[in-house]
Amino acid sequence: MNTWVVIPAYNEGAKLAEVLRGVLEYVPNVVVVDDGSRDNTFEVARGCDVHVLQHKINRGQGAALATGIEYALRNGAEAIVTFDSDGQHAADEIEMMLEPLMTGEAEVVLGSRFLENTHKNMPKLRQIIIKGGIVFTKMLSRINVTDTHNGFRALSDRAAREIEINQDRMAHASEILDQVTKKNLRYVERPVTITYTEYSKAGGQGNLNAIKIAARMILAKLF
């Protein structure tokens, strides 16, 4: 199966090379989308054995993800894995994520840190906010999952084509789930390890941002 890993990256120059080396051990086709970073993300990515796309201006993680998926599809991808650039995800779990696609069990595989509580060092406040976000998203998207905001996913090419990401910024995570239910895609959850380091905490979403994301989700539902 022609598998591609899509990695959106915004100001991740410091950790990116390490993350890419890890992923390349398991999948040869990797596409990094530099989302108009102000640091050396683009140069770091170019120094690795990966496809590098650059958003000339910052458009948000959702937009970067959609760009990478589009590129992978145009290059004949049959399976697409989305992966974070900040070292939170474990590359050795990619094969396990792809398995349901291979066996035909599902077309969308969603990583979950709460299925078997496989998160490490998650700050308490972050835990509360994410759990709140899960309840909120479950209500809006009417999907029964244990983790709604996890960037580790595997999609079949058909699923990748069906899912339209219009939310350029962070609300795309819920939007993807919306589309999974709306387009009746068969999905399954798999436990993934999420490692919270000082680095990933500094680069991730501020806790207050959750409110902004929720507002965007509601607006998107209305219009």
Binding site: V33, A45, R46, G47, D49, V50, H51, V52, L53, Q54, H55, K56, I57, R59, A63, A66, T67, E70, Y71, R74, N166, D168, F223
Partner: protein, 116 residues
């Protein structure tokens, strides 16, 4: 009388500015016509407040000033909604453009390897 004179001066200035923009072809004839009508109507309302009273009686809202305020509010909300929608659409179109450029300019690993 003071407020009428003051408002008229301001509206006259705005009209001059609008005319200048029209001459420079920065706005379409239709838009120019709309703004001239809009500002003349505004001036008229200040000079003849009883006109707004007539509208107020039609809408049964009491004072003429209230009628003007209510109508302005509705128009403002409508315009805001339109601008919000247009803004969102523009954002989406910019993203599409940025995406297409990124894909066309893709750096393939083979190419990077040759450079080494």
């Amino acid at each position: 009388m003071m407020i009428q004179v003051l408002v008229s001066i301001v509206i006259a200035l705005i009209l001059f500015k609008t005319a200048a923009r029209y001459r420079k072809k920065e706005i379409s004839p239709r838009l120019f016509g709309f703004w001239v009508l809009f500002w003349l109507l505004a001036a008229l309302l200040f000079w003849m407040p009883e006109l707004s009273q007539y509208v107020a009686d039609l809408l049964e809202v009491g004072r003429g000033v209230d009628a003007v305020l209510y109508i302005s509010l509705v128009i403002l909300f409508y315009l805001m909604f339109k601008i919000f929608n247009r803004f969102e659409r523009m954002e989406r179109e910019i993203t599409k453009l940025v995406r297409e450029i990124a894909i066309l300019d893709a750096d393939k690993p083979e190419k990077n390897r040759e450079q080494e």
